[in-house]
Symmetry: C2
Subunit: 211 residues, 2 copies
């Protein structure tokens, strides 16, 4: 467990990031399916995990668990669980991360959320609440993961097309039966020559209201 | 619907953002419960929604819907649905966003994901799959929302402590019964004098594995 209470607030936090940074995170970023032959070192993955852990979660519950598959052997184990169209994407990526959520996240609440002594007991025995909380917050952290990777100069290729039960069985099995796979995400330096055009998005009026 | 296919890829995307930007997004950012008396203009909210829409979702499904409550009257409607400890936080925030997901997101797939003509039919009549897809991707987009807000110089105060059914009834009712509230998020310029110390986080070895 890490104590981060002494990190100072960003002084300039009310100034928007410059266009170059916004471009790297959003407008000029894309989902990649093909990769340059360039490795990702473990230090970068550790830095990524640290940034992700800093994002907010409900009651500081931090349910995200990440398995980084860096070797061909580790990724080989994943291939039988993938939909056919995703096999090549994974087998050729430098790193594939399995993003899972821990359905027993609440066992960490006494240390992660110490000022509320009743936090853990809210979830014990309440299967729908713990599932919903783990899935919501684990997915939120998945959003942090993708943007943190881009912030660190990596390209991402998130994938939902796989058999979650199979992944859980292969990687979590009886050792960690409380883990549930959420999505996977290839990481590396993308091959931009093989990008398709970006898909359209909903307009502001289709997706938002100002009240 | 917006076509973004012509946006160029960020040229410098493999260079990490500088420490100042990483600090604004992660290390030096915090969840705020109290706010400076400084408004947030609509242009900022539109910019925020645009950045959020650019993040990746499965099959480009974009299930997130956002109701921005900017007026005291709009926020007043929300108060009866909140847990007691969250009433003051919402009533004093410049803007409160309700982040919801659209359980009929698949009706947009023919335009959002046009190269797969069968995309919509995967979800029609498959209640568990559409619920899981909407919740996962709507929450992912919630992660983009929080980091995009910080990138634009806003502070966030995300909140899960409310009655989702009540919020749905009050804001979506019979007009948009396919919308489901996910979480809410106060936006503005936070009062840093009222911050508590940041909570601890899990260590790398507690939350990740290198395989």
């Amino acid at each position: 467990m890490t104590t981060l209470s002494t990190a100072p607030l960003a002084e300039e936090r009310h100034t928007p990031l410059d266009d170059c940074a916004l471009n790297q995170l959003f407008f000029g970023a894309r989902t990649f399916s093909y990769w340059q032959d360039r490795p990702v070192d473990d230090g970068k993955l550790r830095h990524l995990a640290e940034l992700v852990s800093l994002g907010p979660t409900s009651m500081n519950c931090n349910p995200l668990r990440i398995y980084f598959l860096r070797t061909a052997e580790a990724r080989e184990q994943l291939l039988p669980a993938l939909k056919e169209g995703n096999v090549e994407k994974v087998s050729q990526a430098p790193v594939t991360a399995i993003l899972a959520y821990d359905r027993r996240f609440y066992d960490h609440l006494p240390t992660l959320f110490p000022h509320n002594k009743d936090a853990r007991s809210l979830f014990v025995g309440n299967e729908p609440l713990r599932e919903e909380t783990a899935f919501r917050n684990g997915s939120l952290q998945g959003g942090y993961f993708i943007l943190a990777a881009r912030a660190l100069g990596l390209d991402c290729g998130p994938i939902s097309g796989f058999d979650n039960d199979k992944v859980d069985q292969i990687f979590f099995g009886t050792e960690n039966p409380h883990l549930r796979s959420n999505f996977i995400c290839n990481l590396g330096y993308g091959d931009e020559t093989k990008l398709h055009p970006r898909g359209p998005r909903l307009s502001f009026d289709e997706s938002c209201r100002l009240l």
